[in-house]
């Protein structure tokens, strides 16, 4: 037929299981073991409390600028929860809750945002990339890692995170296209938190969903309620399982909200209303999950209170350790250590020049 409608490979779906009030869609409810459900809850709560604490520390000038995750706990904890240690996580800069669940220590987070390059160190055995600040640039690294995993015949996957704003970057396009071409085991988790600093999602692209962008690459795309931990786990589980058996990459758009500041240097009042924030506070991912867990008899107020105390203590210890470390004198010359495996003679001359200079000053 000379004028015909072209067939698309599949349709883009939207998934939601646990609604904002904690009511579950029985037909879609996943059968998750109790300990996993409680792990998810703990990780989300820890993420929330640690975030609140970092904000206070920053306001007190004890650490520098960072990007709060408040409201996005489910969007990152859900996908990370379905990974195993041998998988890879390639974060942006707003996945602290997810990074902690992947084994990054609170100390390293605090140290890093406290201005110490040492905080960027990733311990052996944890396959996480350090955070990536240039928006959208890290997705390609996930494709490279995933290609390597495929090349070595492993059934591990690479999972990368990024925001709604990042989908406008050329690197997003190149990463998804490359992933589609080689059908690599990569999962692209877009935390659509509705804002890229002051730019609302609607101004970022004319497309009504970000998930549909996957159609450009014949890559699977799904839009998920990102504040619904059950939906996030289910969607991520499906994507990861497909990837492990060689069925290729998936783009997951997690529809969530940045309840806090863009970074501690930001003033959201300039560009968004309190009403909008209030609206999303009703959709809080943690509150609704607690309703669900209570209904299932897996959690009660006493247990929550105990957990809060336990978490508070953990955070306190981490802060204390970090501040003790920060109180020690810094070795300024250490900044010369990791630009190259072997510093050049001229670089060593510069290091020596600085050493002498510092001695002269002291």
């Amino acid at each position: 037929m000379p004028k015909k409608v072209l067939e698309l490979p599949y349709q883009v779906e939207y998934l939601s299981i646990l609604d904002k009030d904690g009511n579950v869609d029985a037909a879609l409810e996943p059968d998750l073991p109790a300990d996993l459900l409680l792990r998810l809850h703990r990780a989300m709560l820890l993420g929330r409390r640690f975030d609140e604490r970092m904000l206070r520390l920053q306001r007190q000038g004890r650490i520098g600028t960072f990007a709060p995750i408040k409201g996005q706990e489910a969007a990152q904890v859900g996908p990370v929860a379905v990974l195993r240690d041998s998988d890879w996580m390639i974060p942006a800069f707003r996945e602290t809750a997810g990074e902690l669940m992947r084994g990054r220590s609170m100390e390293s987070v605090l140290l890093y945002f406290g201005g110490y390059d040492e905080g960027g160190y990733v311990p052996e055995g944890i396959n996480n990339f350090p955070i990536s600040v240039p928006v959208g640039s890290q997705m390609l690294h996930a494709v490279g890692v995933a290609w390597g995993l495929q090349h070595d015949g492993k059934d591990d996957v690479a999972m990368t995170f990024f925001g709604d704003g990042a989908t406008s970057q050329g690197d997003f396009h190149e990463a998804l296209n490359f992933a589609g071409v080689w059908q690599v085991p990569a999962i692209f988790v877009c935390q659509n938190n509705q804002w890229a600093i002051s730019i609302p999602r609607a101004k970022q692209t004319a497309a009504q969903t970000l998930a549909q962008k996957a159609l450009a690459y014949d890559v699977r795309g799904i839009q998920v309620d990102g504040n619904d931990i059950l939906a996030m786990v289910v969607a991520a589980q499906e994507a990861v399982e497909r990837a492990r058996v060689g069925e290729g990459p998936t783009l997951i758009e997690a529809v969530t909200y940045r309840m806090s500041l863009h970074t501690t240097a930001d003033d959201p009042k300039r560009y968004r209303t309190d009403d909008e924030v209030a609206l999303w506070e009703e959709r809080d991912p943690i509150a609704r999950f607690q309703v669900y867990l209570k209904a299932k008899g897996l959690l009660d107020d006493a247990q929550i209170a105990a957990l809060e105390e336990e978490i508070e203590a953990e955070i306190q210890t981490a802060v204390a350790h970090t501040e003790a470390k920060m109180a020690e004198p810094v070795d300024p010359l250490a900044m010369f250590d990791y630009t190259y495996a072997e510093p050049s003679p001229y670089l060593l001359e510069q290091k020596e020049e600085l050493r002498r200079e510092l001695m002269g000053q002291s």
């Binding site: 390059d117 406008s168 730019i199 050049s344 002269g360």
Partner: protein
């Protein structure tokens, strides 16, 4: 006359030029409603509406590439790259098109584009937010590279940049943004691109600096006077490319001793070209090797070590004294 910070002075320049010339368009990430993350474009959206002030999607190549099209079409885009550390996403649009369309079209078209970006260190920022890589642009034919050091010259140079028929990369030292206030005349004032100035007269040694390094350099000059009785001449480059070698080589011929100061890495840095011009044009007058006080050839450290990385008064003083001791 009003006392202003550099941020206010830049805002004034944009506001006045937009009022005067309706072909001037401001675009970039968060430059509208938010007024820019440093507030340089604060209030422009309300005054000039979305017809003149564009909040763009998050894509630097898109911002610059679109600006190139606007400029060729006949507008005068002033694009903001939120931090100079993210201008590399647009590097090909700058190098391959902004800098070349005049030559490629043999003069039929030109690209009156200004790319503004906060740059350099000193504000306890995250990775990619503290570097000084002006050389990438200074080495690129077809571009001009301007770096103001204070509110008044920032305003007067931004006006010149917007009116320049060729693309200008305009790097704003963010540690100076709110560091101090200066009298900035209400009436329009334009400083020529390609001209440096003597920030402090002297006869014994020449200290060359620009951007945020000007103030520690001036401080060092005062110390040299107070503690060593030495009269240092301090030159504020203002334009990195094209380099005003007439001014600093003349100064070198007078003093015979020169120290160059910049935050940029030393190797293949701006200082290297200054040294070369000095050798080409005042070799016989030099009584000591020219010294470079610069950032080191390493990745810019996070802020716990930032101040040791950056050239400060002490390092400038030591270099000057060693140069004078020769």
């Amino acid at each position: 006359m009003a006392k202003m910070t550099m941020v206010q002075a830049l805002n004034l320049a944009l506001r006045q030029e937009m009022e005067k010339d309706d072909r001037v368009i401001v675009l970039g990430e968060d430059v509208g409603r938010d007024g820019g993350v440093f507030r340089v474009t604060d209030g422009l959206l309300d005054t000039f509406s979305e017809r003149r002030v564009l909040d763009t999607p998050l894509a630097e190549s898109g911002i610059v590439g679109m600006s190139v099209g606007m400029a060729v079409y006949g507008l005068k885009p002033v694009a903001e790259i939120q931090f100079s550390g993210f201008i590399y996403e647009a590097f090909h649009q700058i190098e391959s098109h902004a800098a070349r369309l005049r030559n490629r079209s043999q003069g039929r078209y030109h690209v009156p584009l200004v790319v503004r970006a906060p740059y350099a260190g000193g504000v306890r920022a995250l990775e990619h937010h503290s570097e000084s890589r002006e050389v990438y642009f200074a080495h690129t034919p077809g571009l001009k590279m301007v770096i103001p050091s204070g509110p008044r010259n920032a305003r007067a140079l931004l006006l010149a940049a917007i009116r320049d028929p060729d693309p200008v990369i305009f790097y704003e030292p963010k540690s100076v943004y709110r560091a101090f206030r200066e009298e900035v005349p209400e009436e329009e004032e334009v400083f020529p691109i390609g001209k440096s100035v003597v920030a402090r007269g002297g006869k014994d040694i020449t200290l060359i600096a620009y951007g945020a390094m000007l103030r520690p350099t001036l401080e060092a000059a005062e110390k040299l006077k107070a503690e060593d009785g030495v009269e240092a001449e301090v030159i504020d480059l203002l334009t990195i490319s094209p380099l005003d070698d007439a001014l600093f080589t003349a100064s070198a011929r007078k003093t015979g001793r020169v120290v160059v100061v910049h935050e940029a890495h030393r190797s293949f840095g701006p200082g290297a070209e200054i040294v070369s011009r000095l050798i080409e044009k005042s070799f016989w007058y030099l009584e000591a090797p020219v010294k470079r006080v610069t950032g080191f050839d390493i990745i810019f450290p996070l802020f716990a070590r930032e101040q040791t990385y950056l050239p400060g008064v002490e390092r400038i003083l030591s270099a000057a004294r060693e140069t004078l001791a020769v």
